[in-house]
C-alpha cells in the first residue's frame, strides 16, 4: 500500500490536518478525506471548473492540484463562501436570477465569480464571460449566470 503523507493546511479559515497519498488530488482530499463534497468532479483534467477552489486567494482547479501541495497554504471552498450572517451576494443573486438549473456547476461558478469580484469589483460583461470561460454549464446557456454576477457586483459594491 502506498504510504500517506501528513499535511497541515488552513481550510475555510480553520486549521486542518489530514493524511493523503501523494497521488490524491486536492479535490479528492476535500471530498473523500475531509467530507467537503461541495467541490465537484466534472472532468478531472482542468476543463470544466466544477472543482474550482481558492488557494491562497487564487482561483485554481482542485483536480489539478495535489492534496500534498496544500501544505502550509490556505484553501477556500464553496462551503466557506457564505458567512454566519447569511449568503454571499453572489449566492443570493444566483438564486434571485435563477442562475442554476441542475446546480452541479454552481459551486464552481460561485467560487470563480468570487475570485473575479475580489480582483475586479466592477467587471464588464466581457470580463465576466472571459473570467468564467473555464467553468462549463450545460443547463443555462450562461445568460442568467452572467446577469447574476453583474448584479452581485453592484450589491457587493454597495456593501463595501
Amino acid at each position: 500500500m502506498p504510504t500517506k503523507v501528513y499535511v497541515q493546511t488552513r481550510l475555510n479559515g480553520e486549521e486542518v490536518e489530514f493524511l493523503c497519498e501523494p497521488r490524491q488530488s486536492l479535490l479528492e482530499v476535500l471530498r473523500d478525506v475531509l467530507g467537503l463534497t461541495g467541490s465537484k468532479e466534472g472532468c478531472n483534467n482542468g476543463n470544466c471548473g466544477a472543482c474550482s477552489v481558492l488557494l491562497d486567494g487564487v482561483l485554481v482547479n482542485s483536480c489539478c492540484v495535489l492534496g500534498v501541495e496544500a501544505s502550509g497554504h490556505e484553501v477556500t471552498t464553496i462551503e466557506g463562501i457564505a458567512s454566519p450572517d447569511g449568503l454571499h451576494p453572489l449566492q443570493q443573486k444566483f438564486l434571485e436570477h435563477a442562475a442554476l438549473q441542475c446546480g452541479i456547476c454552481t459551486p464552481g461558478f460561485i467560487v470563480a465569480a468570487k475570485a473575479l469580484l475580489d480582483k475586479h469589483p466592477h467587471p464588464t460583461e466581457h470580463q465576466v464571460r472571459y473570467w468564467l470561460a473555464g467553468n462549463l454549464c450545460r443547463c443555462t446557456g450562461y445568460d442568467k449566470i452572467i446577469r447574476a454576477v453583474l448584479d452581485a457586483a453592484q450589491t457587493t459594491e454597495a456593501k463595501v
Binding site: R31, T37, I78, H97
Partner: protein, 753 residues
C-alpha cells in the same frame, strides 16, 4: 380560458426550494454519497470497437491486496432475448443486459467487460490493468450508410429488420423500417413549381451533462437492494433493474440523489447493476463513478444521421409535397430516436402529400440514449434548411412563408392524428414582430437565419401526495427528480390550488419506497404531468379540508366553499375559516389530512419554437460568431417564467454547440479521439451573447393551468437557423453538422474556385 384567469402564484418567480443547498455546496449529488465500509468500483472497458470475447482472466486482479471482487457478465442472470414495455418505451432484455456488461461480443470502444471493487478507487483502477481479456478483433462499421450495405460487418447475429410487426428473413444492421404516408407525393411534386432535394449528415454528439454517471449499491444478504444515484427516473431504474438482476421490484429501493444534468442521458441503466453485483459479492456498499472519458465513450450519444429531404412548393408559396429518407445510428444496439425524428421533421407545416421512411441502424458506437427532443434536431436541420432554399427560390420572407404554411389546430400531422390547439403560428408572428427581426442587420459577412421546430411532448405517469401541517403549511411529496427547478414549478401549482404562497409548500423528491410510481423526468413531461398530479392532490386536500370545515361548523360539506385560502359557510357569509385555522384543528376533526393523486394525463400539448440568429463568419478562417439570438416559443402557461426562460436559453445554447463544434471524432478503428471537455467543444460563456427569449402563451387545453412541456423543443431549431444564417453571411450552404470553422472555410474556398 386560462388566459383570462388571474393567478396568485403561477407566473411569479419565487426562489426555488432547493436553491440554498445548491449555492452553498450542501446539496448531495450521487457522487457525494458516503457510508461506512464503502468500497469503490471501476469498470474495465473494451479498447476495441468490435470484437468477440474469447476469454477473460481475472485471477491476477483478484490477487491484488485491497481488491474485494471482480464481476463480468457471468455474474448477471442469463438475459432473455425478449422485449418488455418500460413506460418510456420498450427494451430488449438481452441488449439491455449486454450493454451493461458485454456478453460474447463488444460492440463499441468503451463497452463494459468487467468491473472491480476495491478499498480505494486508485486500487480498483490498478486492478483493471491486471484483468486479461482475449479478444478476436473484428472490423468495425461506424457510418450509418456503410452499416446498411450488404457487405457491412454485422453487429448482432440475429438482428432482422422489423417493419410494423413484420420481420425480414435477412440478418442485417437495420433494426427497423418505419413509414409515414399521406396523400401522394409524386402527384404533389408534379403540382409544385419549385422542388428542392438535398442530402444531410450529422455527427454523433453527446448530452454533455457536467456530472458523470454514478451509482452506489448495498445488497443485503436478505436480498434487499438499495441504490443511491443521480438518475432522471428512480422508478425506471427500479423497473429495469428487477429483470436484469432477476429479483422483484419490491426488493429494490432506489434513492435518487440530486442530479447534475441529464438531458435524456440519465435514463438508461449503466452502473447500477454493476454496483449491485459487486455489493452482492463483497457484502459491502459499493460506489462506482464514471470519469469524463467513460461518459463520452460509453454513454449518451445522440445519433449521427443521414437524411435526404425533398420538398416542393407552388408559386404562391404553398407547400405541395414533402419526402424524407432518414437513417439514424442506434449505436451498438437498436433504439435510435428515428421514430421521434420522423414525427417532428415536417410537423410544423400543413402539407397535403408526405412520405417519410425511417431506418434504425446499429453501428459500432455507444448505444444511443435520448437527448433533448431526441432525433428532432437532426430532422429540423434538414427540413428547415430546405424550406429556407424554397423561400429563396420563391423570393419569400422565411417567416412569411411559415405563416402561410403553418400547422394549426385541426391540421393533420404526417403521422396521422390532427393537431389540437397549438401555438406555432403565434411563435412565427411573435418572431416577425420582435425587435430582433425588425432591426436591420448590417455589415460584411454577417447573416440572419430563422428556423422552427416541433416536439410532441409526453405525459406518462406521475404520483404526488400532500401532507397538511398543523400550521397550514404543506409538504408535497413527488417522485420526479428535479433537474432544472421542477420542485418549484410543481409546488407552485399546488400552492395555487391551496391558496398558499410557494414558500408554504415544501416539495420533497422522494425515493421509490416513499411515493407512488413516477415515470422519468424527461419528454418535457414533469411540470405538465407531475404538476397535474400536484393539482389533483391539492384538490383532494381541499375536498378533505372542506369536510373538516363543515364538521367545525356542524354543516354539510356542500354548504362550505373554498376560495383564495379561505373557507366560507354559504348560509352565513360572516362565517369564515382560513386554511391555516382549519389545519390547526385537524387533530380534533378526524386526524391528519393527506391528499393524493396518481395520474396518466392525456392532452399533452405539443410544443413549437421559432428561433432567430444573427452571426458573423470570418471569411479568412470560417469561424462563426453568434452576435444575437432570440428564442420564441409557445410555452402554454409559464408556471415559473425564470425557469421556462432557462430551458429556452439552455436548449438554444446546446443547439448552438451542436451546430458549430460538437462532434465525436473517430479513428478508422472506431476509437473516439476527443473524449474530454478539452476537445469535445461545448460552448463556454465567452462563445455566446445573451440569449433573448419571447414566451408566447397559448394555454394547453389538456392541462388545468394550460401547461405545455417546454424543456425539449428549444434545441430543435438552432442548427438549421445557424446554417441558414451562414448562407446569408457568406453564401455557402452547409449540409453537414457541425459547421466547424474548417468545414465552413472549405465551402468558402470551394465557392471561390
Amino acid at each position: 380560458m386560462a388566459e383570462t384567469t388571474t393567478y396568485q402564484v403561477i407566473g411569479t418567480r419565487p426562489i426555488r426550494h432547493d436553491g440554498v443547498d445548491k449555492v452553498t455546496g450542501r446539496a448531495i449529488y450521487g457522487a457525494d454519497v458516503q457510508m461506512a465500509g464503502l468500497l469503490h468500483g471501476k469498470v474495465l472497458r473494451s479498447p476495441h470497437a468490435h470484437a468477440r470475447i474469447r476469454s477473460i482472466d481475472v485471477s491476477r486482479a483478484l490477487a491484488l491486496p485491497g481488491v474485494k471482487a471482480v464481476v463480468t457478465s457471468a455474474d448477471l442472470p442469463p438475459a432473455e432475448d425478449r422485449t418488455i414495455q418500460l413506460g418510456e418505451g420498450a427494451v430488449n432484455l438481452k441488449y439491455l443486459s449486454n450493454n451493461i456488461l458485454a456478453g460474447d461480443k463488444v460492440l463499441y470502444k468503451g463497452h463494459p467487460v468487467a468491473a472491480v471493487a476495491a478499498t480505494s478507487p486508485h486500487l480498483a483502477e490498478e486492478a483493471l490493468a491486471l484483468i486479461h481479456v482475449d479478444y478476436e478483433v473484428l472490423p468495425p462499421v461506424l457510418d450509418v450508410r456503410e452499416a446498411m450495405q450488404d457487405s457491412a460487418p454485422l453487429l448482432l447475429e440475429n438482428l432482422k429488420t422489423k417493419s410494423l410487426g413484420q420481420e425480414t428473413d435477412k440478418v442485417s444492421n437495420v433494426a427497423t423500417h418505419t413509414q409515414f404516408k399521406s396523400g401522394d407525393v409524386d402527384k404533389g411534386f408534379q403540382q409544385a413549381d419549385v422542388v428542392i432535394e438535398r442530402e444531410f449528415t450529422t455527427a454523433t454528439v453527446h448530452q454533455g451533462y457536467i456530472e458523470p454517471h454514478n451509482a452506489t449499491a448495498l445488497w443485503n444478504p436478505d436480498g434487499q437492494l438499495t441504490i443511491w444515484e443521480s438518475t432522471q427516473g428512480a422508478f425506471t431504474v427500479q423497473r429495469q433493474l428487477a429483470p436484469v438482476l432477476g429479483i422483484s421490484v419490491a426488493q429494490i429501493r432506489v434513492i435518487p440523489a440530486e442530479i447534475g444534468g441529464g438531458f435524456g442521458g440519465k435514463i438508461n441503466l449503466y452502473l447500477e447493476p454493476i454496483a449491485a453485483v459487486l455489493s452482492k459479492k463483497t457484502g459491502h456498499p459499493v460506489k462506482v463513478l464514471m470519469n469524463r472519458a467513460e461518459v463520452f465513450e460509453s454513454t449518451g450519444p445522440t445519433p449521427g444521421s443521414y437524411i435526404r429531404v425533398k420538398m416542393g412548393a407552388t408559386k404562391d408559396g404553398r407547400l405541395a409535397a414533402a419526402q424524407a429518407y432518414m437513417a439514424y445510428e442506434a449505436g451498438g444496439y437498436p433504439g435510435s430516436p428515428i421514430g421521434a425524428g420522423m414525427m417532428c421533421i415536417f410537423t410544423p407545416y400543413d402539407i397535403p402529400n408526405v412520405l417519410i421512411d425511417g431506418f434504425d441502424v446499429v453501428v459500432n458506437k455507444p448505444k444511443t440514449a435520448p437527448y433533448r427532443a431526441p432525433g428532432a434536431t437532426n430532422a429540423a436541420f434538414a427540413a428547415e434548411t430546405v424550406v429556407d432554399e424554397l423561400c429563396e427560390k420563391l423570393g419569400l420572407d422565411p417567416l412569411q412563408f411559415r405563416l402561410r404554411n403553418a400547422a394549426t389546430e385541426g391540421t393533420r400531422r404526417p403521422d396521422g392524428p390532427t393537431h389540437p390547439r397549438i401555438g406555432y403560428l403565434e411563435t412565427v408572428q411573435a418572431a416577425l414582430d420582435s425587435d430582433h427581426y425588425r432591426t436591420p442587420l448590417e455589415g460584411p459577412n454577417v447573416g440572419r437565419g430563422v428556423a422552427s421546430g416541433y416536439w410532441f411532448n409526453v405525459g406518462l405517469q406521475s404520483s404526488v401526495s400532500i401532507n397538511v401541517n398543523a400550521d397550514g403549511s404543506v409538504t408535497l411529496v413527488e417522485g420526479s427528480t428535479d433537474i432544472g427547478g421542477t420542485r418549484a414549478s410543481i409546488a407552485m401549482q399546488a400552492a395555487e390550488v391551496l391558496g398558499l404562497k410557494a414558500e408554504e409548500v415544501r416539495p420533497i423528491v422522494a425515493d421509490t419506497a416513499s411515493v407512488g410510481y413516477n415515470d422519468v423526468t424527461g419528454g418535457s413531461r414533469t411540470t405538465f404531468a407531475s404538476g397535474y398530479a400536484a393539482i389533483e392532490a391539492a384538490r383532494d386536500v381541499v375536498r378533505q379540508m372542506t369536510e373538516r370545515a363543515a364538521r367545525i361548523w356542524k354543516v354539510e360539506p356542500p354548504e362550505v366553499t373554498f376560495a383564495n385560502g379561505v373557507f366560507h359557510h354559504t348560509n352565513a357569509a360572516d362565517q369564515r375559516l382560513t386554511f391555516k385555522e382549519v389545519a390547526a384543528q385537524l387533530g380534533r376533526t378526524g386526524g391528519p389530512v393527506t391528499g393524493r393523486a396518481t395520474v396518466a394525463p392525456r392532452g399533452v400539448g405539443g410544443a413549437f419554437a421559432t428561433h432567430i440568429v444573427d452571426l458573423h463568419v470570418d471569411p479568412e478562417t470560417g469561424k462563426v460568431t453568434i452576435l444575437r439570438y432570440t428564442a420564441v416559443q409557445d410555452v402554454g402557461k409559464a408556471i415559473h417564467p425564470s425557469y421556462v426562460e432557462g430551458q429556452m436559453q439552455g436548449g438554444a445554447v446546446q443547439g448552438i454547440g451542436w451546430a458549430l463544434n460538437e462532434e465525436y471524432f473517430y479513428s478508422n478503428t472506431g476509437v473516439m479521439a476527443n473524449a474530454s471537455f478539452l476537445d469535445y467543444r461545448m460552448p463556454t460563456s465567452l462563445d455566446l451573447p445573451m440569449i433573448d427569449t419571447i414566451l408566447v402563451e397559448v394555454p394547453n387545453p389538456g392541462h388545468p393551468f394550460g401547461v405545455r412541456g417546454v424543456g425539449e423543443v428549444p434545441i430543435v431549431p438552432p442548427v438549421a437557423a445557424i446554417a441558414n444564417a451562414i448562407y446569408k453571411a457568406v453564401g455557402v450552404r452547409l449540409r453537414h453538422s457541425p459547421m466547424s470553422p474548417g468545414r465552413v472555410m472549405a465551402e468558402i474556398l470551394a465557392q471561390g474556385k
